[in-house]
Subunit: 262 residues, 2 copies
DNA sequence: CGAGGCATTGATCTCAGTCAACCAGCGTGG
DNA sequence: CCACGCTGGTTGACTGAGATCAATGCCTCG
């Protein structure tokens, strides 16, 4: 398995219509149904048929706008919801005993956060918006009830969690082996795939996270990110100015770094 | 790769009561109930009352003996069961595209393996016995059915999975920061705790895994394991000869290395 | 007994961390 | 409007932890 570091994307779908939400900052809570959600195909595990979705209609979900830098939930918060990103980007972080923190993931539209809270009824990570973001609050207890009562959909939760486990494993694999350039290449290529899955260009995108956050995520220091980006640029693989990245030789980047495991 | 679930020789019943098992090499499969299982308290999530366990009685489980070096399940195998270790020790490994593999965990009595298989209906890791081991095969579909029908126990699965996620996260955190001595200390202290939780000495135990497997798990090379063990020994924290380890200064080891995050 | 796997130890090399200087953008406030 | 400071990013010089290469010891097993 190549280190893929993601919840895998399931389906393409055009860019978000998302006009559904009542707009304007004043209306922070909006009732929504999965069945009419534009990112449901990405959010829910692949196996679900349209019929399977029907019971979910009874789940009236609230959405919430989170502005850049604000927390969706915090380390230690009681666990009530799992959160699906509808629009925007979040990071999840894990705090070490001494205040240091590690970024455990970046989450884009259609990806789910907060599942680790099930274990102890309390969130073990924090989620923070990297840009203005809209998340879908899925009440956990209600979801359990609904899925339990519905044969076709009962695996939904476990699927989501299992995906999370698989994703974490591949991340561990990456942190275990590869050196800096491989890690960064894997990170960029992963982003590229996820943008592609959402109908955006796989070769040109805007990074939502800082160098420091990338560094934390892939387990190196900021300076190393800078140097390695410069290296990639000198080698003709990418062009980066600030947070704008253009991958000029996607195949080259793949071949040079992806499979390299020391 | 191959399931290679061998029925095998030796009974070698340790301290575990396990008298239930029809003994002798001929009977490799044995019907068991969680309710009478000696490691159930460790295996099942803490929140379950004795009543919650009752429905599980209807789950007739098979146990299987795995001899040292044999696989419990393999990367790519269809996902049918999750596996609880009843006796012995297993490692789970993740294979890189190029043949390299990383150890993702060591599992002792009462710990569960294989949950990552839910995601795609196929196991993403392999599990191999590090000594003669007995595992409990829990049929996933049946477990889902039973727990879905039982309000009190319905969170069982999700709890297990969420625990796995939390565990993976803390491992990631460790791999992300800390340098070699901290990692190794954390590893030893973790083992110590787990032995203690099972009624064994926290200060003296026999490693079930090779130096190479430890190295892979904590993300360094074998030589570094050797050197660091020697360092610990010179510093008076431990005495190690071969796989036998005695922690002579447990508190010291903790204070010197545990909280150190660079 | 020898062979082969595992472990230890030493010598050397190298990648990335550290320390430090510097630059670019940006919002604040004089 | 510019000066200022602040944050984020880049680049250079140096250092050090751990990888690599290699030799040797130790054990079990046939």
């Amino acid at each position: 398995m190549t280190p893929s570091l993601t919840l895998d994307r399931h389906a393409h779908l055009g860019r978000e219509a998302a006009a559904s939400a009542t707009r304007g900052a004043s209306a922070a809570f909006v009732r929504e149904k999965c069945a009419t959600c534009s990112v449901a195909a990405l959010c829910l595990p692949g196996g679900l048929s349209h019929d399977d979705l029907r019971p979910l209609q009874s789940l009236f979900l609230t959405t919430r706008r989170i502005s850049e830098g604000e927390a969706v939930y915090g380390d230690g918060d009681p666990f009530r919801f799992i959160y699906a990103v509808r629009r925007g980007t979040c990071k999840t972080t894990l705090a070490g005993r001494d205040g240091r923190e590690q970024v455990t993931g970046f989450h884009m539209a259609g990806e789910v956060m907060g599942l680790e809270g099930v274990a102890h009824g309390v969130h073990a990570t924090s989620a923070v918006a990297l840009e203005d973001t809209e998340v879908c609050l899925i009440p956990y207890q209600r979801l359990v009830a609904v899925t339990a009562a519905t044969p076709g959909a009962k695996d939904l939760l476990t699927h989501l969690m299992s995906q999370e486990i698989v994703r974490d494993h591949s991340l561990m694999l990456m942190l275990g082996f590869n050196e800096a350039p491989n890690r960064l290449a894997a990170f960029l290529l992963n982003l590229s795939e996820r943008y592609a899955a959402r109908g955006y260009s796989p070769r040109e995108f805007h990074l939502r996270m800082s160098r420091g956050e990338i560094a934390s995520f892939i387990g190196v220091k900021v300076e190393t990110i800078s140097r390695t980006l410069s290296l990639f640029q000198r080698s003709g693989f990418i062009q980066a100015r600030g947070r704008h990245v253009r991958i000029t030789d996607l195949e080259g980047l793949k071949q040079q770094y992806e499979l390299r495991i020391r």
